[in-house]
């Protein structure tokens, strides 16, 4: 296993120290593995926290800062954080206006955040609302199963809800914005290679030299199907068409188009893919209002990419454009 780490069991602890050292605006509660804004809590502002397994950086810690998250809880690699962490984060950012929990839809995350919310209600009486993201169209949507995974939309939601909270909106309003984002966003990804979980020491799944996995999850969960390698044009089509058909996105819709690298794929390839994605959207008459190209929600060293579309109106767009100052997303300030 080739990684710039000390020991598998220290990866998260070491990375948190690195984040703290690199970003003076942020603080880290090492006991609880919580990254939070140095100016927390902000009086009267709705706090927004998120969290999940590590290995998806910059998600979530890299999105802590003005106009986005107030705190992020880092679980072990690919393992949901535990309720104590979310409870600690909730307390740290509680400015009296309530706290929004942004939860990606995985059984573990949902249950751990749920327990944290129960604890927060019991211990401090903090008002907590949870919004769950479940945007991955690779997974069949069904109330009989765990439902769709939360992936790329999470990034966009954290930005947009963060802007709403920064404007001083109420917890219910911020949660509404967050739900609107989730309802209007869809994603799908593919993997050219597996990732390697440090503690496992070897690739999570085997993939032939001439194969890729379509519809992969950000934890290396197998996807819809395994196929023979193709071109960026074909990859784009296999990702975008199901997304468009799912919501569905219609001619004239304005979207944020987010082409995301999974950790081991360099930017030049993301631009090649973005180009193909943009052509398909153009063909459908879907208008790209804003774009984001880069590795923002990753799966360790996995090579591959995902596409996320978010339908936006003027309101969402102005929240998207609002100032943000975090390690991974920054503009307007």
């Amino acid at each position: 296993m080739k990684k710039l780490i000390n020991a598998p069991e220290d990866v998260v602890v070491d990375a948190l120290q690195g984040i703290e050292a690199a970003h003076p605006d942020l603080r880290v509660d090492h006991a609880h593995k919580v990254i939070y804004r140095g100016d927390s809590p902000r009086n009267g502002k709705v706090g927004i926290i998120s969290g999940g397994g590590s290995g998806h950086e910059p998600l979530h810690g890299g999105f802590v800062g003005l106009g986005m998250l107030d705190a992020a809880c880092a679980g072990e690699v690919f393992t949901s954080p535990v309720p104590d962490q979310m409870l600690a984060a909730t307390k740290l950012v509680d400015g009296g206006a309530g706290v929004l929990h942004v939860v990606k839809n995985y059984t573990g995350d949902v249950m751990n955040f749920e327990m944290a919310a129960e604890l927060a209600a019991a211990e401090t009486g903090t008002q907590v609302v949870s919004v769950v993201t479940d945007d991955d169209v690779a997974v069949q949507d069904s109330t009989w199963t765990a439902g769709r995974r939360g992936v790329g939309v999470t990034v966009l939601l954290e930005k947009i809800a963060g802007a709403a909270a920064e404007q001083g909106r109420s917890l219910e309003q911020v949660a509404d914005v967050a739900r609107t984002v989730n309802a209007n966003g869809r994603s799908m990804g593919l993997a050219l290679t597996s990732c390697t979980v440090p503690a496992a020491g070897k690739p999570t799944f085997e993939l032939g030299d001439d194969e890729y996995e379509l519809g992969v999850g950000i934890h290396g969960e197998p996807g819809r199907e395994r196929r023979k390698l193709a071109t960026a044009k074909e990859y784009a089509s296999l990702l975008v068409e199901p997304i468009i058909a799912d919501l569905p996105y219609a001619k004239g819709d304005a979207v944020v188009c987010f082409v995301n690298g999974l950790g081991g794929t360099p930017l030049i390839e993301l631009y090649v893919l973005y180009n193909e994605v943009a052509k398909i959207l153009d063909k459908h008459g879907v208008q790209v209002a804003r774009s984001l190209v880069g590795s923002y929600i990753t799966s360790l060293d996995m090579a591959g990419a995902s596409v996320t579309l978010l339908r936006v109106d003027d309101e969402l767009m102005s929240l998207w454009d609002a100032p943000v100052r975090t390690p991974a997303l920054r503009w307007g300030i």
Partner: protein, 214 residues
């Protein structure tokens, strides 16, 4: 043969479970790699190592307090899906096991049932969803049935182990409807569920540690 499960026995159960999880860490992780995210072994091992440390911090605890501590420790250290589920299992087990020791066989069985109900309350699993439930539930059913039929504790426990193993094996052919494996749909068929595998270890370690207890 004694007349119930002592505190020492209960601790022994947890120690054996911790050991079995440690010994099967790779297996659990590999099973999870196939239909999940390759962390179940690591998760459980981390949690049970923390439980062993926690046990030393509460030398005087009653059975109820002991399992409350175990449950909280698992909730606080495992994470993922299995953390809240096993955590809730032991919290509810502790709630039902009482403050007295030794714990009579029937009360031990009732505590297991309470734990299982906790798992269902937390995770909403139904039979055949391909989860830890599918190993735990048949085992507890078997234990209850055995005790109800007047079998001796050791025999009833052995039945429970067999039922857990059979339940674990049965998950292979199931289509996952809960947890991470559910994303796979049809492709989850043919793989043994990692949580059912660790749950079978929990039952097997009860048998190993408590066989001669009650």
């Amino acid at each position: 043969m004694s007349d119930g499960v002592t505190r020492t026995d209960l601790e022994h159960w947890l120690q054996v479970f911790a050991k079995q999880v440690e010994d099967n860490k790779e297996l659990l992780t590999e099973l999870d790699a196939a239909i999940g995210d390759a962390d179940h072994g690591v998760n459980m091992d981390r949690g049970l190592k923390a439980v062993l440390v926690a046990l030393e911090q509460v030398p005087q605890a009653t059975p109820a307090a002991l399992f409350n501590k175990v449950g909280l420790t698992l909730v606080s250290t495992v994470g993922g899906a299995s953390g809240p589920l096993y955590g809730t299992f032991f919290l509810r087990f502790g709630g039902a096991v009482g403050d007295e020791e030794p714990v009579p066989a029937t009360q031990f069985a009732a505590a297991l049932r309470a734990g299982l109900d906790g798992v269902v309350a937390r995770g909403k699993a139904e039979p055949g969803d391909k989860t830890m439930y599918d190993a735990l539930a048949p085992a507890i059913d078997a234990l209850d049935a055995g005790l109800a039929a007047g079998e001796v504790w050791a025999d009833a426990l052995t039945r429970a182990v067999d039922a857990a193993s059979a339940g674990r094996e049965a998950t292979i052919e199931m289509l996952a409807r809960k947890g991470r494996a559910s994303y796979l749909g049809e492709r989850s068929i043919g793989h043994q569920d990692p949580g059912a595998t660790s749950a079978a270890l929990l039952v097997a370690s009860a048998n190993e540690a408590l066989h001669d207890c009650a």
